[in-house]
Symmetry: none
Subunit: 147 residues, 2 copies
DNA sequence: CAAATAGTGTCAAAGAGTGTCAGAAAGTGT
DNA sequence: ACACTTTCTGACACTCTTTGACACTATTTG
């Protein structure tokens, strides 16, 4: 499980140190792809391959399916760590994530996300709406009690 | 069951001794997350994992699901005790809880909470006010027989 | 082929996190 | 009241992680 949030620096070559605790959980490296909110999503190898399988089973006759496959696969990169625990984020992913010198690394359970500091602070602010949150929590509490 | 309140110190590195009686009830460690009142909530392992499992079943193609996962996981930490019974509270949680050198540890049944001394004394004042309390919780049924 | 650019490896320093221990304080039992 | 045990705390030493710098290799481009 990936938890917590880290602010890390990116060096002049576009390399980012992945938190040591995250590396332990994805020791073979990660698949990095474009997220849905101008962020990047990192999946451990195995997990991404599962998602890839699920996608492959969807029918290519559905235009939405084709678009989703293109989004996920064309923007994906398989990355491994160097001896200092860093990955090199490809330039096109840095661009889509608007990531320059500092970024946020965000644990979200089975994967983690990489955000520009600015976009993350906006996203985090949107989590502070008590009304929305109570609805969000309600959704999960129901399923926690049910079944 | 977690009961009572304790005032404990946090050392220069951000470590907090968890009361021995609380450790007995969460021997494998705790999940610490952001609360709703600028406090922190500590759940025993099992309880939090129930919530995490429910989340994993929701699809990330839904924006509300993504927000919920970020809200819960990014503000959570899985913490275990060192040999002296202490946990290290991550810096970002110390910040959200406004916790510096001394804090209150508050038992609330199936979980316990961590508060800054200042915020806790405000909270305690508000829920100890006999005037307000006489009618405040009239709608909540806590009888042993009820429901 | 040469030059420019992109990518990789290595190292050392700063900082963050962890382990250990002894003393103070609080609690327990006789 | 006293001795004993447990718990918490502060200090210190140590390890691990991250970062920036520099040197080197590979790839692309003209």
């Amino acid at each position: 499980m990936f938890f917590g949030q880290y602010e890390h620096n990116i060096d002049a070559k576009g390399r980012l140190t992945i938190p040591a605790s995250f590396r332990e959980q994805a020791p073979e490296g990660i698949y990095l792809t474009e997220g849905f909110d101008s962020n990047l999503i990192a999946y451990p190898k195995q997990h991404f391959e599962q998602i890839a399988n699920n996608l492959s089973e969807l029918s290519i006759t559905d235009p939405e399916t084709r678009a989703l496959r293109r989004l996920i696969f064309s923007n994906a990169a398989m990355l491994t760590y160097d001896t200092a625990g860093r990955i090199l984020i490809p330039a096109f992913l840095r661009a889509t994530g608007q990531i320059n010198d500092t970024c946020m690394i965000i644990g979200v359970g089975d994967s983690f996300e990489i955000w520009s500091v600015e976009l993350w602070s906006l996203e985090a602010k949107s989590h502070n709406d008590p009304q929305k949150n109570s609805n969000r929590w309600a959704a999960i509490n129901i399923s926690a009690r049910g079944n």
